[in-house]
């Protein structure tokens, strides 16, 4: 398994390099002078020149690229132009909130979605199947911020079950959990929708496979046919979808964090956008690049755990 992970890490390196290059080009090649964008049209020529100097914008592109890569490699993402604090430090302060939110909603999605999909497939076209399909359709149809706004309206404002603004007293574990509940459920609903769907259809596919018939011909009890013989096979496409939608989840966490006014990468990125904090944006993109590569790595490793055929390749 360790060899497998190392091999995957090696494969992930070029991807990371490519993503970082794209991030670099993205920020540099964008039309307009970043200095002008940051300082506004009315800035004096001297101020613009000084900023360009500071950002290294008047060096040739390849030199900027080398600088950028060296910076990333040394683990330094520069300072925020707005607060002058190291970007890594700002990110480190809020990252736990985003990670906590995504992990919680991922858990909700998988822990609820997989059994829902299985039961739905087992009772194909029954009332439960119908119900589960409606739930997942609704989950798919809600943009994250719409469901967030509606949830806030219903559960926090009307029913007062959860705090409207969730940033208070986060060192108290109970308050923190309460603050997490609604945002996590909101994001979890989206994941749940995807997971239920793909579990159902892949379970239906697997149950008609020859090896399921073999298991039944051996006299394996019906319950064990589903849980031991079918489920692990059915989970392979589920892992694909979860891996694929981790990106969607991360994207939607931005919206969720804004609606629920939660600290996190989302608030950081939108703040940076509004304040034109150019160095912060670049730093955040690098962070996202790392997160995405890490997610892909985790997905690959999960394959390795579920599907014995993967390790061989």
């Amino acid at each position: 398994m360790i060899g497998f992970i190392l091999k995957r890490l090696l494969v992930a390196l070029p991807t990371l390099l490519a993503v970082l290059t794209i991030v670099f080009l993205f920020v540099r090649v964008a039309p307009g002078d970043p200095a002008m964008v940051i300082l506004g049209d009315s800035a004096s020529q001297e101020a613009l020149e000084a900023l360009r100097q500071q950002l290294g914008l008047n060096k040739p592109l390849w030199a900027q690229y080398v600088d950028f890569m060296l910076m990333v490699l040394s683990g330094d993402l520069g300072k925020s132009m707005l607060t002058s604090r190291p970007i890594l430090q700002e990110v480190a302060e809020v990252l736990p909130y985003t990670v906590e939110l995504t992990v919680a909603s991922l858990t909700i999605g998988v822990v609820v979605g997989v059994p829902l999909g299985i039961v739905s497939a087992k009772q194909r076209n029954g009332w439960f199947d119908y119900f589960a399909r409606v739930i997942s359709l609704v989950g798919l149809s809600f943009p994250a911020f719409v469901s967030a706004v509606l949830m806030l309206l219903i559960f926090a404002i009307e029913l007062r079950w959860f705090p409207v603004i969730s940033s208070a007293a986060l060192d108290d574990p109970e308050a923190r959990l309460r603050a997490l509940a609604l945002p996590a459920f909101n994001l979890g609903l989206i994941m749940l929708a995807y997971v239920t769907r793909v579990t159902r259809s892949s379970m239906l596919g697997v149950m008609s496979e020859d090896y399921i018939r073999t298991a039944r011909a051996k006299g394996v009890p019906g319950r064990m046919v589903v849980w031991r013989h079918a489920l692990r096979n059915a989970l392979i496409p589920v892992v694909t979808v979860v891996g694929l939608y981790l990106g969607v989840l991360i994207g939607n966490s931005v919206l969720t964090e804004i609606v629920f006014n939660r600290p996190g990468l989302g608030k950081l990125i939108v703040g940076a956008l509004n304040q034109r904090d150019y160095t912060m944006l670049q730093g955040l993109m690098v962070i996202y690049a790392f997160i995405i590569v890490l997610c892909n790595l985790l997905t690959d490793m999960t394959y390795g755990l579920i599907d014995p055929r993967v390790k061989r390749q």
């Binding site: 991807t15 490519a18 993503v19 794209i22 993205f26 920020v27 964008a30 039309p31 307009g32 359709l137 609704v138 798919l140 149809s141 809600f142 943009p143 994250a144 911020f145 719409v146 706004v149 509606l150 806030l152 309206l153 404002i157 596919g205 990106g247 969607v248 991360i250 994207g251 939607n252 931005v254 919206l255 804004i258 609606v259 990125i269 939108v270 956008l273 509004n274 944006l281 993109m285 996202y288 995405i292 590569v293 892909n296």
Partner: protein
């Protein structure tokens, strides 16, 4: 040998979809929902009861009434009219974005598949990297770099969808490239452009169209999300996302402000998802022979 009839078309997914839609209730409902929303967006100038930009200082934040069926916003503008006009903007932006992504993405996919070799590998590796980036965050950054405007919004959303189109167009290209009639065409001296246009494009088209309709829902969602963050079309032009944002700021006093545009988005998304299911079933090879 000037006219050689080479039939290269297979029964299209769209044709199958139509025959299926008539039997499937969900698909039919989806179709109706989408058609209603598209029609009301197109007809907005004629059916909207008010000017969406007209401010009525006396009637601010009014709950639904006879004059203002869905109430008014903080500037006294009619919510219903803004929803109808906002749908126009949302649908225009997302449809244009998907069309751009479709054309650019399929061109990349067909070229990569047809040329093959190193070009194919490098291009598709780039596409995979693009694909791994969450579309919302990519859209966010593109708009942030380019500055918010309708054109930039379309470009940003379009860019997020290029990679999937490239992928889906490439797969059938690889298969068709190896077939005899392409060899024959080349032997007859057809240009590469002509071969791609006559033989490959028609076979790719149907899958790509299905993909396009599936991506429309994603594009609408991305547009609304960007507008919600404040990176969409500039005010005062109404869009659903920005209306929800405005409503969100007044959520305690006037919840209808965000509820009604939310419902509008939901109807479109439900409709598109139901339609998408129908399309997916029609293209799923496992279900095809049923």
């Amino acid at each position: 040998m000037s006219t050689v009839h080479l039939s290269t078309r297979q029964p299209g997914a769209l044709a199958l979809f139509w025959s299926r839609a008539r039997r499937n209730k969900g698909t039919a409902i989806g179709l109706v929902l989408v058609l209603v929303m598209v029609a009301s967006a197109i007809l907005a100038p004629w059916i909207a009861p008010h000017d969406p930009l007209e401010q009525d200082i006396i009637a601010r934040l009014e709950p639904p009434s006879d004059t203002y069926l869905l109430g008014t916003d903080p500037y006294g503008r009619d919510i219903l009219s803004r929803i109808l006009w906002g749908g126009r903007v949302s649908l225009f932006v997302s449809t244009s974005a998907v069309l751009i992504a479709m054309v650019v993405g399929s061109a990349i996919g067909i070229l990569a598949g047809y040329i093959g070799g190193k070009f194919d590998r490098v291009t598709m590796a780039c596409m995979d990297v693009l694909l791994s980036f969450p579309s919302l965050i990519m859209g966010l950054l593109v708009v942030a770099m380019l500055g918010p405007s309708i054109v930039n919004l379309i470009l940003a959303i379009g860019l997020t969808a290029v990679a999937p189109f490239a992928r889906i167009a490439r797969a059938p290209t690889l298969v068709i490239k190896e077939r005899e009639f392409v060899e024959a065409g080349r032997a007859m001296g057809f240009s590469h452009g002509r071969i791609m246009g006559i033989h490959i494009l028609p076979n790719v088209a149907s899958e790509v169209m299905v993909m396009a309709s599936l991506w429309l829902a994603t594009a609408i969602r991305t547009e609304a999300s960007l507008s919600f963050i404040g990176l969409g079309v500039r005010p005062p032009t109404p869009t659903w996302g920005s209306m929800i944002r405005e409503g969100f700021e007044n959520i305690l006093d006037a919840p209808w402000l965000s509820i009604f545009p939310s419902i509008a988005i939901l109807i479109v998304m439900l409709g598109l998802n139901l339609l998408g299911d129908g399309l997916r079933d029609a293209t799923d090879p496992r279900l095809r022979h049923e």
